[in-house]
């Protein structure tokens, strides 16, 4: 008989009902409404500051604990395992190797000892090379209470373990469900609203609304990740009829940039959820999606991009010229394709703060869903975005040089290392041009200049070699872009 329900049950149901309502209201008021309107309460920044204090405390506890137990704290070194000598030129090294006795000879010769130079360089690169470490997550100095970024996790102190346990509870129990809810809300709103806007007949109204809708949905997505973004130099924001280029660390880059402005995205057509989102988005805004087969056709790609750029009513295109995700400590070679289009380029530098959660997507280690789950169960994603002043291709500059100039500007602003290597060739063999460069340098030490003939004066020979050193760099850069 239904009269004899336990009074506790009723109370429980009512409590549950009230708490859910309260929760949803809070969610709505504090997160969704500001996202729609584009304002912020500053809660996230407060959260960030609190977290930082806790992390510092945790690290100091670990250090104290390690000292007590007289163990060495295994600190991850951002410098690497070995101390590399300051890079002196090949000539200099070989000169040292041969000793002062032989520098009086008029003709430089091969010495058996020369091999030591190459040998040591080779072994140094086995131990620690500039490139492969860019494809794994950065190592942190202080612990951020995530076991995934810690080498020292032992039971050091009860307080620390309790704190860590609390952290796990909060992250997986509270933050993760909250964020997943927001993400679902954001994505479904995006799909539904863009489709609706696409039906509007009036072109101007459609543009206006589509902008608003895109911004709103991306703002919700940003809150779904608890991304705390600082935008610098907003006056340089990309304008219509231009291309926006940026360094690439994660697929989330797109959300971070689209949070602040409207861009036309470029990409391959996917299936599943992504495909649905793509189809919906393109109804209201001219995004550029390519079929798999079209991607190989460079001319087709270039034509579509140029057409888009020529139309000044369309939004700037967002492109990531690196072609792959790099771990945000460096910028790798930019593909010249996007720099061949004649228009203004707006560079943007994005730098993530790894203390709160590593945003780098290691595609060989994690799939996309796994990655997103990790993102949503980190503390936060903190990053800075710098809008750099627009750049144009100068007279006499070819696409590759222009690309390198832009890359250098982005690297300088974001505090990243500027590398010449092509990130997309993660597992492919190095171009022979680089090896040739090394061989050229060495041969100059041995046999000198071919067309200069014999040089009796040793000093003169050295000067010639120094000048020639500049040229191989450019040549090999040109050579290495042929395989685009």
């Amino acid at each position: 008989m239904t009269w004899f329900t336990f009074p506790g049950d009723n109370l429980l149901c009512r409590c549950l009902g009230i708490s859910i309502t309260a929760w949803l209201t809070l969610l709505f008021v504090f997160i969704i409404v500001p996202a729609v309107l584009g304002v912020s309460f500053g809660i996230r920044r407060l959260y960030m500051r609190t977290l930082l204090k806790i992390f510092e405390w945790a690290t100091s506890r670990m250090e104290m604990g390690a000292k007590e137990k007289n163990q060495q704290l295994h600190k991850p070194y951002s410098n690497g395992i070995i101390a590399k000598e300051s890079p002196s030129s090949l000539q200099q090294e070989l000169q040292d190797l041969r000793g002062s006795a032989s520098c009086l000879r008029s003709e430089p010769e091969f010495e058996m000892a020369d091999i030591f130079y190459f040998c040591r360089r080779g072994v140094e690169s086995i131990l620690d090379d500039e490139v492969t470490k860019r494809f794994s997550a950065q190592e942190l100095e202080s612990w951020n209470l995530l076991t995934r970024s810690n080498y020292n996790f032992r039971h050091i102190s009860l307080r620390l373990t309790v704190l860590w346990g609390l952290g796990v509870l909060i992250r997986y129990g509270i933050l993760l469900p909250l964020r997943v809810t927001l993400a679902i809300t954001g994505i479904s709103l995006l799909v539904v609203l863009t489709t609706l806007v696409g039906f509007l007949p009036n072109r101007e109204l459609r543009f206006y609304l589509s902008e608003k809708v895109h911004l709103m949905c991306f703002r919700i997505c940003v809150r779904a990740l608890t991304a705390i973004i600082t935008y610098h130099n907003r006056e340089n924001k990309p304008k219509n009829g231009g291309i926006c280029v940026s360094n690439h660390t994660t697929p989330i880059d797109v959300i971070i940039l689209a949070n602040d402005g409207c861009y036309s995205m470029v990409g391959q057509v996917h299936g599943g959820l992504m495909g649905m989102m793509q189809r919906a988005m393109v109804k209201s805004s001219p995004h550029i999606w390519f079929e798999r087969s079209e991607v190989k056709d460079r001319h087709l790609v270039a034509k579509r991009l140029s057409d888009h750029v020529a139309d000044k009513t369309k939004q700037p295109i967002l492109i990531f010229p690196e072609g792959t995700c790099i771990n945000n400590t460096s910028v790798m070679m930019f593909k010249k394709g996007s720099f061949e289009i004649a228009c203004t380029v707006y560079p943007v530098a994005i730098k993530y703060d790894p203390r709160f959660g590593d945003a780098f997507w290691n595609s060989s280690k994690f799939g996309l869903v796994n990655y997103l789950l990790r993102m949503m169960s980190s503390w936060a994603i903190v990053c800075s975005v710098w809008y750099l002043p627009p750049m144009n291709r100068e007279e006499g500059e070819d696409a590759m040089q222009f690309a390198n100039r832009v890359k250098a500007a982005i690297a300088a602003q974001g505090g990243l290392v500027d590398l010449i290597w092509d990130g997309a060739l993660k597992r492919a063999k190095v171009k022979d041009a680089f090896k040739e460069e090394q061989q050229k340098l060495y041969s100059k030490v041995l046999v000198g200049e071919q067309d200069e003939g014999e040089q009796s004066d040793d000093m003169h020979l050295e000067d010639e070699n120094q000048e020639e050193d500049e040229n191989p760099e450019d040549e090999s850069n040109q050579d290495s872009t042929e395989g685009q």
């Binding site: 690497g80 091969f110 190459f118 040998c119 040591r120 360089r121 690169s125 131990l127 290597w421």
Partner: protein
């Protein structure tokens, strides 16, 4: 990256390796991490392809030779212990370490370093660097930058200078003698951070 326990227990024969090579516990740990990092398929051993993935090594003219120095003749894979033993050659020499005759020569002694470099030339391990072997190395280091005649003449000169017993090949002793004045200890050293 994941959470790794920092204890040496994961590494087989860590204590023996430390004794044999002179690396400290921290060094062995870091080397193990690097080994695991290079071992992309998690096989517990490295293959030539894993070394080949290191871009800067591919750029090195004698990169392939260095890679094959890690693999004993006939073996296709190198395990962690062998990896460390080879790298031990590059530790700085300790001049004031006294040892009695019974102890085996440490990996980073001058002689062992020379032997390592010698074997880069001497591929067939017959104890002599023949003219052909020398030419091979020269070709690797110079390839298209010089003509064949120039290569031959360079090789000729080098052999004439070093070959004391006139057998048209450079033995290990002749090699050592010709490098008497070279500061090998400095040039074959890699400073391991502790």
């Amino acid at each position: 990256m994941g959470s790794k326990s920092s204890s040496l227990n994961k590494i087989p024969n860590a204590q023996e390796l430390m004794q044999e090579t002179g690396f400290s516990a921290a060094h062995i740990l870091r080397l193990y991490e690097r080994f695991e990092f290079l071992d992309v398929d998690q096989r517990g051993e490295l293959r030539p392809e894993d070394f080949g993935a290191i871009r800067e090594l591919s750029m090195n003219p004698i990169g392939d030779r260095i890679i094959s120095a890690f693999f004993s003749p006939g073996k296709e894979a190198v395990d962690f212990a062998s990896f460390v033993r080879i790298l031990a050659h590059f530790r700085p020499t300790e001049t004031n370490r006294t040892r009695d005759g019974a102890q085996p020569e440490p990996a980073n002694s001058r002689t062992r370093k020379l032997k390592f470099a010698f074997q880069l030339y001497d591929q067939d391990r017959d104890g002599k660097i023949s003219r052909e072997e020398l030419l091979q190395v020269l070709r690797m280091m110079l390839e298209m930058q010089v003509t064949e005649e120039q290569l031959q003449s360079i090789a000729e000169r080098a052999i004439q200078e070093a070959d004391l017993d006139q057998d048209d090949a450079i033995s290990f002793d002749e090699f050592r003698k010709s490098l008497e004045k070279v500061d090998i200890d400095h040039k074959m050293n890699i400073r391991f951070l502790s």
